[in-house]
Amino acid sequence: MNGFFGAHQFEIVAFVCSLCFMFFIIESIRKQLIKEAYSLIWIFMGMILIILSIAPQVLKLVSDFIGIAYPPYTLSLVLITAILLILVQYSIVISKQTERIKDLTQELGLLAEKLSKLQDRIDKLDKTEKSSK
């Protein structure tokens, strides 16, 4: 069942994919598409993926430690946990942003009202100035 790359077919494919992922993340940060604060977690994930693809023994070790007989399951478990944590983090970020947008919207409404009142007063002053001339 050896493929194009010989006995280590899967490891090589996994490694290349992990590298692509890492490259994609770093490119996004370099182009400032992702803020640095949110990028660290992805770099961290990319590094874990690369390590696991180079050294699948690590996965076996971790599996034995947790007590999982089938190592690929450990991989999906770790990934799902990480994704869940990241999603919770996103909920926190979204909530904060919603709060800020709310505050800004309110501020905008209050300022617009103040502005229109000031404008009315200026218009009135202009009128009296004109009529006095």
Binding site: E99, I101, K102, T105, Q106, L110, A112
Partner: protein
């Protein structure tokens, strides 16, 4: 040593003058207490003219503040045409909580001593505002809720689910703040300066903030009082709570209430 004694007497004299001054300021404050009627509106162009008319009739001395929560109809223009001087137009729809908070912020910044929350759909009666303000003016409460239920005879009819929900809020909220609050969903409320300043900062930004607000205030040692007020059936337009959504709404609000109850009281400056 006559000198120090004289000094002391002088000081005493100043103190007496100060006390008298303070007393006068207190009197002045009550005479000219600035009051704002906050009317949050979302697509209320049908109801707004009559709401403004009743407010002008019954509380002509109060400033009407319309908060237009990004309506898609002509609410703001209709309000201005009805003679409302202050219309706060929000550029994005924030929901009732965010709209009310905008009004409270306005009242706080412009030095209002009293704020009344009044629905834009015409279900509250302007002639009851005086009734609502009485406990605040007598310094018996910081917040007064216009309740449909705290008197024996009330003409309020509602759907079964709605009554069930109101009953549930009554039980939960009363238990949580150890005070009978019969009408937690009523939006007809009056606030004194202390309460409106507090809420301007931390009004629950939520679709249905009223029950949560009760807990928040109770937890932070605000004196809440209920006054019986009759309410009108809606004049027109559609209520914001459809029966299908009401179960979801109940769960959401209950959860929010429990969360507020679990949080510690907010640190405030002393009265």
């Amino acid at each position: 040593m006559p000198y120090p004694v004289q000094f002391g007497v002088d000081l005493h004299g100043i103190r007496i003058i100060l006390i008298v001054l303070q007393f006068n300021i207190q009197e002045d404050f009550d005479m000219s207490a600035k009051a704002a009627v906050l009317v949050p509106c979302f697509n209320e162009e049908v109801n707004i003219p009559s709401v403004v008319a009743t407010l002008k009739k019954h509380v002509p001395e109060m400033d009407i503040i319309i908060i237009n929560d990004c309506s898609t109809d002509h609410t703001a223009a209709v309000a201005a045409a009805a003679g409302v001087k202050t219309v706060l137009d929000l550029p994005c729809n924030l929901g009732i909580g965010g709209a009310v908070q905008t009004g409270l912020k306005y009242a706080h910044r412009n030095g209002y001593e009293l704020a009344i929350k009044f629905d834009g759909d015409g279900q509250h009666k302007a002639e009851n505002i005086a009734k609502l303000l009485a406990p605040i003016e007598a310094n018996e409460a910081d917040v007064v809720i216009g309740s449909r239920f705290c008197a024996k005879h009330n003409g309020f009819k509602s759907t079964f689910f709605r009554r069930l929900g109101i009953r549930l809020f009554f039980l939960v909220n009363s238990a949580l703040i150890r005070q009978m609050i019969t009408d937690n969903t009523s939006g007809f409320r009056a606030y004194n300066r202390r309460a409106l300043s507090f809420l301007a900062k931390r009004y629950p930004s939520f679709d249905y903030p009223e029950p949560e607000e009760v807990i928040l205030l109770g937890k932070n040692q605000f004196r809440i009082k209920e006054v019986f007020t009759e309410m009108n059936p809606r004049l027109g337009g559609v209520s914001s709570i459809s029966p299908i959504k009401s179960v979801y709404y109940m769960i959401k609000v209950m959860f929010a209430i429990c969360m507020v109850a679990m949080r510690p009281a907010v640190k405030q400056e002393k009265r």
